[in-house]
């Protein structure tokens, strides 16, 4: 039965249910319980924003706090995945990938291919991304396109609580290394989520809204921005089709291409910086494969090519919003 819970609760529930189902699922990360060795409460935080709260007591011995050693414990999660476990490791903020990227892109990502198909590395790395917390340049980046760039990694970007639960369960059951990217602003988003366990398969985009005039491909938190824009545009008679790819690797190219073949117009909304981004990737895909259907130049709505700023006025300008999506769609729709 479905009831309304938050994105954050949906993630917690997915972890809980998978830990119940499969004893090889363990979780680890900095302060994932919190209070290790300290005089007060154990499970004091349940992760820096409380996402894993409660799991420590429910699953004794299977929620491991770690020292601040990302190379060490992310690598250890990968090693444990090579030896029969299904670890879910938390890289608190995606920005910290800088400290441990070798273990992810030279180790986990390469084993299957480099070892001639013999290795399986069923590890999940959960990580928080995105701007909006006034947390500045080292705690607000998106970076999912960097993971997407690397063959061997699967990259997941849930945009709502239902997908967060189903995609995380799929991530844990999947036999490849998965980078599960959680938008920190979405943690409080509520939505209908079934109580029972279910999976959302990888590589299947969601058509969030149907429309004939303009295709909007949006990622993560940007799906809500696109919906807000589409509601406003509907009033002026522009009907948008919104596609949420849900996973950037594998990517459901077919759903995107079919939609653009129908509408002939494309706006890509991507919170990350624009160079070598998902926005560029989707634009390239469409230009390459359905060039003949395009009736207007492709528009991208992204953050600018600058690091995330601290000051609220600057950060609000930095992050794409519904108004920017609206004007991009209008430009594309009016192009003749």
């Amino acid at each position: 039965m479905a009831r309304k819970i938050t994105y954050q609760q949906a993630i917690n529930e997915a972890l809980d249910q998978e830990m119940q189902r499969d004893p090889t699922v363990i979780i680890m990360g900095e302060d994932n319980a919190g209070g290790e060795g300290s005089p007060g409460e154990m499970d004091a935080w349940g992760g820096v924003l409380g996402v894993t709260k409660g799991l420590y007591h429910k699953h004794p011995g299977r929620v491991l706090d770690t020292p601040i050693s990302e190379s060490g414990f992310i690598g250890a999660a990968i090693g444990a995945a090579c030896n029969g476990m299904r670890p879910v490791a938390e890289l608190m903020f995606v920005d910290f990938m800088g400290v441990c990227f070798d273990q992810i892109f030279n180790q986990a990502a390469k084993f299957k291919y480099m070892f001639g198909g013999k290795a399986e590395t069923p590890v999940v790395i959960r990580t928080m991304y995105g701007a909006g917390f006034r947390a500045a340049a080292q705690h607000s980046q998106c970076l999912y396109s960097l993971f997407t760039h690397v063959p061997g990694l699967k990259v997941v970007l849930p945009s709502n609580p239902y997908d967060a639960k189903g995609l995380l369960i799929q991530s844990i059951r999947d036999n490849d290394p998965v980078i599960f990217c959680e938008n920190k602003i979405l943690y409080t988003m509520e939505g209908d989520v079934p109580e029972e366990s279910y999976v959302v398969p990888f590589g299947e985009a969601a058509v969030v809204r149907e429309g004939d005039d303009v295709t909007i491909v949006a990622f993560g938190r940007m799906v809500s921005m696109a919906q807000e824009a589409a509601d406003a545009l509907q009033k002026s008679g522009i009907h948008c089709e919104i596609i949420d790819p849900r996973t950037t690797s594998p990517l459901d190219e077919e759903t995107i291409l079919e939609s653009v073949e129908k509408t002939g117009r494309l706006v890509v909304v991507d919170e990350s910086n624009p160079r070598c981004s998902m926005a560029g990737d989707i634009a390239g895909l469409v230009a390459r494969k359905v060039f003949g259907s395009l009736k207007a130049p492709i528009e991208q709505v992204t953050a600018p090519h600058v690091p995330p700023p601290f000051s609220d006025v600057l950060e609000d300008l930095y992050v794409p919003n519904a108004a920017k999506v609206e004007s991009a769609v209008t430009r594309v729709a009016e192009y003749t």
Binding site: G34, E36, A44, A135, A137, P307, S311, V313
Partner: protein, 324 residues
């Protein structure tokens, strides 16, 4: 104590510690009203560490700081007025409102920046120290880092490198007992962080971080050794933080009354005052006068920070590169 510091030096030390304390108490109060954005990590309780170390430094010496950086900034001479404006996200701030609390920096003062990445400063200080050594100008680099950061590869690599290259560097481990909620007694694999020094071929010392004079002396020796070409030292400062990991932290992982007891029994400002007034060289009135001046300065910093302009829209795109 006053053997190494004259009256002027003692008053300066007190002023620095008091400025840090007043600054942090004020940020704590203002954060609670919801006016200050972002993540804010306060240094209150640890003032003797930054002050005891930085009193030995000159403008050209470099320090690398942490996410808990306000104290290091003030002790290294960064202007509290500009710092407060930065924390409030104003264009008059140390980083023009682009960095915030976690990234206050002033390279003109040798302050390489607070750092949002735990352990980020270690390698950077090896680099500044390498430059010092190659120039032969007797300057040094200080890496401040926490107990949590002491487990980060970057810090361990940096300590090894500093010895291998015999760099004029000092590693100051501020062990305040916790990394977020996690106790250093659990996360650090040996009894003391300083125990690791011998593995990296450098001296390691432990000091009481509530005792300004203990920090001042130990840091003085390490910095002198570095300046004279004797290589790096690891100084572990045992201390505590008075507030949560960041503002908003409920701190249920701490013992009841833990901070209250420290404030009452060990506070660095209290101990300092008792110590310097005991032999009559400095009077309570001298210190009270500093208290009032510091309070006025911090009040002014907030008044100005509130009134100062926010960055302009055009600032969003500037300063990504030196040249385009």
């Amino acid at each position: 104590m006053s053997k190494t510091l004259n009256r002027e030096g003692l008053l300066e030390a007190y002023r620095t510690m008091r400025t840090i304390r007043e600054f942090e108490e004020r940020v704590h109060t203002d954060f609670a009203t919801g006016e200050i954005p972002g993540f804010v990590h306060l240094y209150a309780g640890e003032e003797a560490s930054a002050t005891g170390v930085c009193m030995h430094l000159k403008g050209k010496d470099c320090i690398a700081s942490t996410h808990r950086g306000h104290g290091h900034c003030i002790a290294k001479g960064v202007d509290p007025i500009e710092m407060m404006a930065e924390i409030w996200g104003k264009s008059t701030g140390s980083c023009k409102g682009k960095g915030g609390s976690m990234h206050i920096a002033d390279l003109s003062k040798g302050m390489l920046g607070a750092n949002g990445i735990v352990g980020g400063g270690g390698p950077l200080i090896c680099g500044t120290a390498l430059a010092s050594k190659m120039r032969g100008d007797k300057t040094v680099g200080i890496c401040f880092f926490g107990d949590g950061a002491s487990n980060q590869g970057t810090i361990l690599e940096a300590m090894n490198l500093a010895t291998v290259w015999s760099l004029p560097a000092v590693f100051v481990a501020e062990n305040n007992g916790y990394a977020e909620t996690t106790s250093s007694s659990w996360s650090v694999s040996c009894d003391n962080i300083a125990d690791r020094a011998s593995a990296f071929g450098m001296p390691g010392v432990i000091v009481d971080g509530f005792d300004f004079f203990a920090v001042y002396e130990a840091a003085g020796e390490a910095i002198k050794r570095a300046r004279e070409g004797g290589g790096p030292t690891l100084v572990e400062v045992k201390v505590s933080r008075y507030y949560g990991h960041f503002e908003g932290d409920q701190q249920t992982y701490r013992a009841d009354g833990e901070v209250k007891k420290l404030r009452e029994e060990k506070d660095c400002l209290m101990q300092f005052r008792r110590h310097v007034t005991a032999d009559g060289e400095i009077s309570n009135a001298d210190l009270d006068a500093i208290d009032s001046e510091v309070l006025a300065l911090i009040n002014e910093s907030v008044v100005r920070a509130k009134a100062d302009p926010k960055p302009e829209a055009a600032d969003l795109l500037t300063d990504v590169y030196v040249s385009y």
